[in-house]
Amino acid sequence: MAGTPYGKHTRDALGTFATVMVTDSAALDIARALLDGELAAIDAACSRFRPDSELTQVCAASGRPVPVSPLLAEALSVALTAAKITGGDVDPTCGRALVSLGYDRDFTLVRPDTSAPRQPPIRSWGGWRGVKLSAAGRQVTVPEGVLLDLGATAKALAADRAVAAIAATAGCGALVNLGGDISVAGPPPEGGWLVGVADGATFDTTTASVESSQVIVVRDGGLATSSVLGRSWRRGRTQLHHIIDPRTGLPARPYWRTVSVAARSCVDANTATTAAIVRGERAVNWLDRLGLPARLVRQDGAVVTVAGWPSAEGTG
C-alpha cells in the first residue's frame, strides 16, 4: 500500500519524540542504532539545558575562543548561515531572550510555572554577527553575555544527518521525524512517504500522534512545521511562545499560528518555517519567491498555500 513503511520505531528524545521508518524491515535495528547515536551526539553538543554540553561550555567562556567538536562546529555553521540567509530573522543568539521569558529549562518544566517575567525583554538583533567560527571550524568565540539557542536548526540538522547515515549505511529508503521535523533519504516506498500535516496544539505524547489537517506525499528532502501553539506558556497574564523576533526580544507577533514548508533538506525547511513565523504576512511572497512549497495557517484558521503545496484540505 502506498506510503506504508516496512519498519517503524518511535521513542522519546530531545524532550519530544523521534520516529524512524525504513523501507526494509531488516534495516530497522541498524536504523535505530544510528538514530540513537545521532540524538545522543546532538544533545551532548547542542543542548542549552545540559551543564555538561559543549554549547554550555562555549557560552560560559567569557568571549574567549573555545575548541569545539566537528558536530558543534557544523551546528553553529548551520545556525549562522540560517541567520545570514534570513536577514537575521532566525538568530541563534536569542537564548538570553528566551531565558528572560521563562524558557530557561526543559520545556516540560516551563509550562507549570506561570509567575510573572522577572526580566525585561532582551533584544538580540544582529547578535549572530558577533559569533565567530574559525575558518577551519575548530574554534568558536561567543561574545561575553551571549547565550546561544540552536533549537531552531539543531533538531533539523540531526534529522538530516541521521536519515542520510541510515540510508547510506542500510542501503534503503528512510524517514526520520524529530518532533515534527522530517527528513527523508534513499529510495522512497512505492507511492512515496505519507505524511500528515498538523496545525493544532493537541498532541498525544503516549502515541506521538496528533490530528492531521492534511496528508501529503513526500519523496525527498525535508518537511518542517513551526507553530506558536506547540511550545507556548504563560507568564503572568501574557501568553508566550518560543519563536523569538530578534528585533524585539519578544515572541514573534502571531500572525500565523502554524507554517509548514517542504524543502531540499529539513534544515532548509525549518529555517524557512521559523523565519516565516517571524516575518508574518510578508512570508507569503518570500516563500513564493524562493519556490518553497508551504502551507501557512492564520490565527483565524484560514489556510494559505504557496509554490505548489497541495491545496486539498481534509485529506487526513
Partner: protein, 158 residues
Amino acid sequence: MRHRYHESPGGARDESLRRVSRLTWRTSQLGVLATVGITVMFARTAPAPAASIQPAPAPTTLSAVPTGPGYPTVAATRATVKPRTKASTRSAVSAAATAATAPAPQTSQADAPTVAPAQPAPAPTYSPSLAPPTTAPAPAPPSSAPASTVSSASHGGG
C-alpha cells in the same frame, strides 16, 4: 632667436636640424619609457584576471561534503559567485584552501553500499540554502492508508 635667421640663413638651418635631432632623441626616450612602463603594468596585473576566474571550481571543493541531489548547496558558494573585488577573490581562494584541508569527500547516496557495513557512513555537511525540494509534495491519493507520521509543531523538549 628669430633675428638670427635673418642674420645667417646657414646657421639657422643648422640650428633647426639640431632641434629636430633633439626632438627625435627625446621622443625615442619617451617611447622606451612608455614601453617599459606598460610591460611592468601588464606583468603585475596579468595574474589577477586569471585568479578571478577561479571561483568556478570553488563550489565543488566547498561542498566537500554535500553529495547527491538531496543535499543543499553550501551557502559560501553564493559568496564566491561574484568575484568583483580582490577581497572576494581572496575569500574564494581561502575557502578553496580550507576545503583542501578538509576530510576527503564523503560517499554519496548514489554510491552507497547495498550491504550494511559495521560502521555508519560518514554524514554529509549541511548548510541551509533555502532550496526547494527536488520533488514537490503531492496530495495523498484518496485511497491511501493513513499517514504514518506527522509534521507538527514540537511539543515539549528543548
